[in-house]
Amino acid sequence: MTRPKGMLIRNPTVTRINHWITALCFILLMLSGLSMFDPMLFWLSNLFGGGQWTRAAHPWIGLILVVSYAGMIVQFWRDNLWTKDDLAWTLAIDRVLANEEESVPQVGRFNAGQKFVFWSMALLIPVLLFTGIVIWDYYFETLTSVGMQRAALLIHSLAAIAAIIIWVIHVYAAIWVRGSMRAMTQGYVTPGWAWRHHRKWFRALVATGSSGPRPRTDVGKPQE
């Protein structure tokens, strides 16, 4: 991707590919899962070639998502660690929502809302994986009792609903905060974007002469 001069790398190519594989899997899982959750949405199964294909494909797509999200965790966990600044940011959420960020505590690479999305998914996806295995009858029917399978179905549904609502928040935030979408499609943001939304991250990049996504750790060594 050609990065215009002076722009900052928000998400390198590997991260973007990883993110969009995850996104595609999530959307397919949401559509196929909802078709099996509520009869009024059963028509969504037509998108997958019918009910039997939907049921057969859903768990396999889920496995791809698990692997893909594990990749997201590897790349993102360090910058998503909770700090005490995040509490202050969360308490100022009303001003964040009102687009008055000047008076909100400055944030690093990710704000508390992004961290919430990241860790929620990091929790919900393993829950969906393990309950999903319990109800993947074709391979695992004999491993558990029917009582466990009933509980797994309920937990799987509840966790999926929670994940979908968090996904709606995630997608809306990307639409709402202009420039975020390009950060995940083309991978870069303007310095002004970084200043406005992630000033601590911006300062760290500037202080170390890094163009992103993380501050340089080899400051002082001769630059090429």
Binding site: S35, M36, F37, D38, P39, M40, F42, S45, G50, G51, Q52, T54, R55, A56, L97, A98, N99, E101, I135, D137, Y138, E141, V146, G147, Q149, R150, A151, L153, L154, S157, L158, I161, I164, I165, V168, I169, Y172, I175, W176, V177, R178, G179, T190, P191, G192, W193, A194, W195, R196, H197, F202, R203, V206, A207, T208, G209, R216, V219, G220, K221
Partner: protein, 314 residues
């Protein structure tokens, strides 16, 4: 080929009222009089014959139960129990297991595929294979552990109560084959009346707990048992004492469906409202100016004060 859809009084995964112009049809029932069963398995053979089910020959497992469990090609199965009664005597309890055709079918309630499970006006619960997606929800919904998913075509199978025979005025194959009259078929009322006579007879012969098994937890069944020990159905190879649709399944298929969709819709609406009230959060020209100033200041600083390997000013 399925029966006329005008016969349906319940249809899985359907929110609208199914066509049921014949809903005044007589309710049918199969009555299995366990006290008259000799365990000959003629019913099992007749079921295989009529429904064209041929399992591969299995292996002997040291029990009369053969095969050991219901499967996609075994829709009815004699289950043998050696029960020692209070007097210390052996009672050989033989129960013909299979779909109970609940009035309130858990399989139908759990099924996500429209029309894959239906209940006819006469009460028979049937699986319409062409609509089945093989998800296995019916297995979780059933309080009697009856449906089995085929590993071959990934569809769910169980006793149809010979709905094809019943629709043309014949009795189910197992009923026709039974040599002792232990399996009867007719209107639910007639079967209940006959069972009452049998129960009275059994009581007069010392089986004081004899009774009819027509569990109210599932609003009654269209397959009923006469039991000598109706107070403890579970001694008959695990026949549930008080079967009902699991509360987990009821909750999953009841309250959370509308609440979940409302929750998702609410989150979308909240986003839209935020968009029209607060609007997008856009980078302003002064943000870019301030960012450039900081970058310029940092460049100037590093020229005057080179930093050390840790990035601290030296």
């Amino acid at each position: 080929m399925s029966m006329q859809s005008q016969d349906y009084i319940r249809r899985s995964a359907t929110t609208l009222t199914p066509p049921s112009v014949r809903s005044y049809e007589d309710q049918v029932a199969k009555l299995i009089d366990v006290t008259r069963c000799i365990g000959c398995k003629a019913c099992q053979a007749a079921c295989m014959e009529w429904n064209n089910l041929r399992n591969p020959v299995g292996t002997f497992e040291g029990t009369y139960d053969n095969p050991l469990d219901l499967d996609p090609a075994t829709w009815t199965l004699m289950r043998f129990t050696e029960y020692e009664n209070e007097q210390g005597n052996l009672e050989w309890l033989i129960r013909k297991d299979g779909c109970m055709h609940c009035e309130d079918p858990g399989c139908l309630k759990a099924c996500p595929a429209p029309g894959a499970i239906v209940q006819y006006a006469n009460g028979i619960v049937d699986f319409i294979s062409e609509n089945c997606i093989g998800c296995g929800y019916c297995v979780k919904g059933c309080p009697f552990n009856i449906p089995r998913i085929s590993k071959v075509d990934l569809k769910s199978y169980k006793c149809t109560l010979c709905s094809d025979r019943v629709s043309v005025g014949l009795e189910p194959a197992c009923v026709k084959a039974c040599p002792t009259g232990a399996i009867l078929f007719g209107s639910k009322k007639d079967m209940t009346d006959w069972a009452g006579e049998r129960v009275n007879d059994l009581k007069s012969r010392g089986f004081e707990n004899a009774g009819l098994y027509d569990p109210p937890g599932v609003d009654g069944t269209h397959v009923m048992y006469v039991l000598h020990h109706a107070d403890t159905p579970s001694i008959y190879a695990g026949l549930p004492d008080n079967p009902k649709i699991s509360a987990t399944v009821e909750f999953w298929k009841g309250l959370i469906k509308p609440v979940a969709l409302a929750g998702i819709a609410a989150s979308v609406v909240a986003g839209f409202l935020h968009w029209i009230i607060a609007g997008p959060n856009e980078v302003q020209p002064e943000d870019e100016i301030k960012a450039r100033e900081l970058e310029a200041a940092e460049r100037g600083k590093s020229r005057e004060h080179p930093s050390d390997i840790e990035g601290n000013p030296v």
